[in-house]
């Protein structure tokens, strides 16, 4: 792995670093001059005596109950509202400030749900600001899973009376051993954010966050051809520190920062009992390697300067980072006598680099130009390790050297727009991307050139139409089939590194028909052609169209309608062995989204209505020399409707009533009816396609202290 890539990186990095430092020096040098040039009126008599600066306390709290009937993991995925019954509806926010310039604000949301978050911010004007934030983020994935395994991070075990079998059907005690298991996680973050305004233009800042992630993930493992799905306990912590200083002058700024991120996984491996009859004697358990603890550290510098001619701005950014991982290996197998490889850990070392220069300018009154040059490098300096493997705790797999991956990506991007007429702007632009892969990969490099032209017509201030057309062409270096794993067909091309010819068109429009009526439109079409690839993706076509209409006849009445359609159609071919003809797949996805809503304020009442309907379908048709065969159609359908009613019974008190319904249906041939014993060689969790039908009823009262805090 040593090599041209490693030899080139320091040279390239050094050049870019020198360029960056030169730009930063320019920033610092020109800033003082620019600041001196700014004229200012005499404001000594500007007392602002009529200015209604805020002093005192203003706060609003809401307290109530929400009853959800039919709630489950599908409904409460990101809120945690996943059970029928009443939950507390509690929110509060407010701010306080005194004449001395001390201030405090708070924002508490969804306190009755696992998705609760709270932010408390305080400070002294112009001196410092401190903020503390808590954020709860549930992710409920499934509540239909069942498993015969029990245990936690120490290992997953089968019941004492478990009957192993060559197939799931032969596992005699499977049915009586199944217990429900919730699949999902809780992410809890506590963060402290501080800013100290050290002097004119100077700010010292820091953010420290501690994030825990707990719960169960759905994972799986196999013993040769026999697979088992598992509920993997999760217990990880990520601590992150970002600290730095920035200086901002009138025409320039510089920012220097350090970021450290420490990911800790309590469980580096998951050991589990083999539910099948062992294929080889002694293969009674399996073990998965889990995400290893790792550390990312980065130093970053960026700067910007407005040059004193042609409204020109120059940006520069540079970042250098190291990604380390040195978690201890587990033994190569659970089979008796299996050893831990030497050395006992990877000592992974990846260097990340990023350099960028940006330019924006108006060299002519009607002309604006922008350009960006960017380099991103991932240099994996980990020593390649040869491992004598045991495949799936079952049979010897020989000694294999673990490949290392890295790449250098150079990206140039630019565009120019010219106002041909006061109501017509035309632009051209393009990108050039060059990716050089580290030695030993199937490709040495790819080159991609994309060019586009666009025109924007604004015949009236209330009407604008934009059209953009472009083409992109990706070429690749020679294909190194020897770098493919031995089982891979040398004809296959990974679609992210395959030659590609892309055409795309976008159309946008906005029409403000009157003071009360506005219409917007966005449409996109993209065709990708991969037909130079012998096997793999052959073509992909994407379409999307969206439109939105808003009607605001008065300050008390508004209504909106929006609609969208998206489709994706791809063709790919594959190979099943020399005895079979190539197979073809036509895959088509379609998605619709329709919504409508309105809001009406009448006297002390506010009525709000929202409705949304979002179905999708996926079709997969295959053929292998004969007639097409179709997989069952997969579908999803989301339908929501909500009525909100608010009544202000006094300036300080407002009642809020909420009635809502959500219905979600989905079908998925990969999951539907796949129970733990449905597939002979897959002991499944039995997770079924998500569905819900939920009725919500809520009532709450809002109380306001001090002047209102309109949200």
């Amino acid at each position: 792995m040593t090599t041209n890539l490693e030899m080139q990186l320091p040279r390239r990095s050094g050049g870019a670093l020198r360029a960056t430092l030169a730009v930063l020096a320019l920033v610092a040098g020109s800033a003082g001059r620019a600041a001196d040039a700014a004229p200012a009126p005499d404001t000594s008599g500007w007392t602002c005596s009529q200015c209604p600066f805020f002093e005192g306390l203003a706060a609003q709290g809401e307290l109530g109950l929400t009853d959800a009937k039919g709630a489950n993991a599908s409904f409460g995925r990101y809120t945690g509202e996943d059970r029928s019954g009443a939950t507390l509806a509690a929110d509060a926010h407010g701010q306080a400030r005194n004449a001395a310039g001390n201030y405090l604000s708070f924002d508490l949301q969804r306190l009755g749900l696992p998705a609760r978050d709270a932010t408390l911010t305080g400070g002294h004007e112009g001196r410092f600001e401190l903020s503390v934030r808590y954020d709860g983020q549930p992710d409920r994935v499934a509540d239909s899973a069942v498993t015969p395994f029990s245990g936690a991070s120490g290992g997953l075990h089968l019941p004492a009376n478990w009957v192993s079998g060559a197939t799931t059907g032969a596992m005699g005690t499977l049915g009586s051993s199944l217990v429900p298991v919730a699949i999902g996680t809780e992410r809890r973050t506590l963060a402290l954010d501080a800013h100290y305004f050290a002097g004119p233009g100077w700010t010292v800042f820091g953010t420290l966050s501690h994030q825990e992630k707990l719960g169960n993930l759905a994972t799986s493992a196999s013993f040769l051809t026999q697979a088992v799905q598992l509920a993997q306990p999760l217990d990880t912590v990520t601590d992150t520190l970002e600290a730095g200083v920035r200086w901002a002058g009138r025409r320039a700024s510089v920012r220097l920062s350090y970021t450290g991120s420490w990911f800790e996984n309590s469980d580096t491996a998951l050991r589990f009992d083999n539910p099948y009859s062992p294929i080889v004697p002694g293969s009674l358990q399996g073990q998965l390697g889990l995400a290893p603890s790792n550390t990312l550290q980065q130093l970053a510098a960026s700067g910007q300067v407005q040059l004193p001619w042609r409204a020109t701005t120059l940006n520069a950014a540079a970042s250098l980072g190291t990604l380390r991982q040195d978690a201890a290996f587990v033994p190569v197998s659970t089979l008796p006598g299996s050893a831990t490889p030497s050395p006992g850990s990877l000592d992974g070392d990846v260097r990340l680099s990023h350099y960028a220069l940006g330019l924006g300018s108006s060299p002519l009154p009607r002309l604006s130009v922008r350009a960006t040059a960017r380099f991103d490098g991932r240099d994996d300096r980990t020593a390649p390790l040869a491992v004598n493997t045991i495949v799936t705790d079952t049979f010897a797999g020989g000694t294999v050297v673990a490949p290392r991956y890295g790449q250098n990506r150079m990206h140039l991007e630019g565009g120019a727009d010219y106002a041909l007429l006061p109501w017509v702007r035309a632009g051209v632009g393009g990108t050039f991307q060059d990716v050089h892969y580290a030695p030993g990969q199937v490709l040495d490099h790819t080159h991609e050139v994309e060019s586009w032209g666009r025109v924007t017509i604004t015949p009236r201030a209330d009407l604008s139409l934009g059209l953009k057309l472009g083409n992109g062409l990706r070429k690749i270096s020679g294909f190194n089939a020897a770098a493919l794993p031995s089982a891979e067909n040398s004809q296959v091309r990974a679609f992210n590194t395959a030659p590609r010819d892309r055409d795309f068109v976008t159309l946008t429009g906005a029409w403000t028909a009157s003071e009360t009526l506005a219409l917007t439109l966005e449409s996109m079409l993209a065709n990708d052609d991969y037909r130079n690839s012998p096997l793999g993706l052959q073509s992909e076509h994407e379409r999307s169209t969206s439109a939105a209409l808003t009607w605001t006849p008065s300050a008390t009445l508004s209504a909106n309608i929006d609609a969208a359609y998206q489709s994706q159609h791809s063709l790919q071919n594959g190979y099943s062995g020399s005895a079979s003809p190539a197979w073809l797949l036509a895959d088509r996805e379609r998605y619709w989204n329709l919504g409508a809503g309105g809001r009406w304020t009448y006297a002390r009442w506010i009525v709000a209505l929202d409705y949304r309907y979002a179905p999708s379908s996926s079709n997969s048709d295959t053929s292998q020399g004969g007639p097409n065969e179709s997989f069952p159609q997969n579908t999803t359908r989301l339908e929501t409707a909500e009525l909100g009613l608010s009544y202000r019974c006094s300036p300080a008190v407002q009642w809020h009533f909420r009635v809502a319904h959500e219905s979600y249906r989905s079908s998925d041939w990969a999951l539907q009816g796949v129970e733990p014993a449905s597939v002979p060689n897959l002991l499944a969790l039995g997770i079924q396609p998500l569905h819900d039908s939920v009725n919500l009823l809520g009532v709450s009262v809002r109380y306001q202290i001090g002047a209102g805090v309109p949200k």
């Binding site: 009126p41 500007w46 490889p341 296959v492």
Partner: protein, 310 residues
């Protein structure tokens, strides 16, 4: 209203010794002339409650010298430009005043120049290099400066602001597989820098992968056994804005995997007897299909994890 304005204007002028007498002799003020009394002059006419919301925001903190209302600040005219001629004309012409909005007299570039006068060296330091600048987007198309709480600074409302233009992403919010934007647990700015960035797609991280692993640190590696696209770009397999397939995948498995891998020894082709149409189901196709065995798809640190099966 007009009478009130005149009375107030007269009061302001009268407050300046000799002003009314001098006004007789003064020529028309140039557009670069500032008002006599700053915000007090402006508020004499512009007394709408909706405008006063700014006095509860960070823009109007009298103790903060960095802000327009701090000591020595130009107050309203810091953003709206010199108002002397506007006042002299009793509001009948803008003079040096910059108005804001889609239908404003000032073009977006001029409006933005007022904001960038302070923010070009701070939050919007990369504005000139960004796509919004190239599309002539005005700051106030997203920001409401006079609101007590600018909606675009609230996660849930920010999504609505951004998707007002980015309509395809509006539709993505309701897809079966998505990030928690609809719940306000993330916002567009969790990943993107709308004020410009030198990174791809105006991302907050240096690259797609660095942006994603900012939250998903478990996939950062380096692993003993790596999956090449994971190390290069998460968007090879995932569509971060939403998908009709599980796990934000760009297309469903096993077909997504087969866009790069030919399954030697893996009869996962649909038209074999193992497919759901053909009687007995197959672990190659049902459940998590490829991932039933290759579960460590983001990389494995197990010594025997070569095929990402351990």
């Amino acid at each position: 209203m007009g009478t009130a304005v005149l009375v107030l204007l007269a009061a302001v002028l009268a407050a300046v010794p000799g002003a009314s007498a001098r006004a007789q002799d003064e020529a028309v003020l140039p557009d670069t002339a500032y008002s006599q009394s700053g915000a007090d002059t402006c508020l004499a006419c512009h007394d709408q409650p909706a405008l006063a919301g700014i006095f509860r925001t960070a823009h109007a903190r009298p103790g903060d010298p960095r802000g327009p209302f701090g000591h020595g600040g130009l107050q309203c005219e810091a953003c709206h430009g010199p108002g002397g001629a506007h006042v002299q004309a009793k509001g009948r012409r803008l003079g040096g005043i910059v108005d804001f909005g889609v239908k404003a007299n000032a073009p977006p570039a001029r409006q933005n120049a007022m904001c960038l006068g302070c923010h070009a060296a701070g939050a919007a330091r990369d504005w000139a290099a960004g796509a919004h600048a190239g599309s002539d987007i005005g700051c106030v198309q997203c920001h409401q400066m006079h609101a007590v709480e600018d909606p675009v600074r609230t996660p849930l409302l920010q999504v609505m602001v951004c998707t007002g233009c980015h309509q395809a992403q509006r539709a993505d919010l309701d897809k079966p597989s998505r990030h928690p934007l609809r719940e306000g647990k993330m916002s567009c700015t969790s990943c993107h820098s709308p004020h410009g960035s030198t990174a791809h797609a105006q991302l907050t991280g240096n690259s797609v992968s660095e942006t994603c692993t900012g939250c998903h640190a478990e996939f950062r590696g380096p692993f003993l056994w790596e999956h090449q696209p994971v190390m290069e770009d998460c968007s090879v397999c995932h569509d971060a804005h939403g998908s009709v397939q599980p796990a934000l995948l760009k297309t469903r498995t096993p077909f997504l995997c087969q866009q790069c891998h030919e399954g030697a020894g893996h009869p996962s082709v649909a038209s074999t007897p193992q497919n759901p149409n053909g009687g007995q189901g197959s672990a190659y196709v049902l459940g998590a299909n490829c991932l039933n065995c290759h579960s460590q798809i983001h990389g494995s640190n197990h010594p025997a994890g070569r095929a990402l099966m351990r």
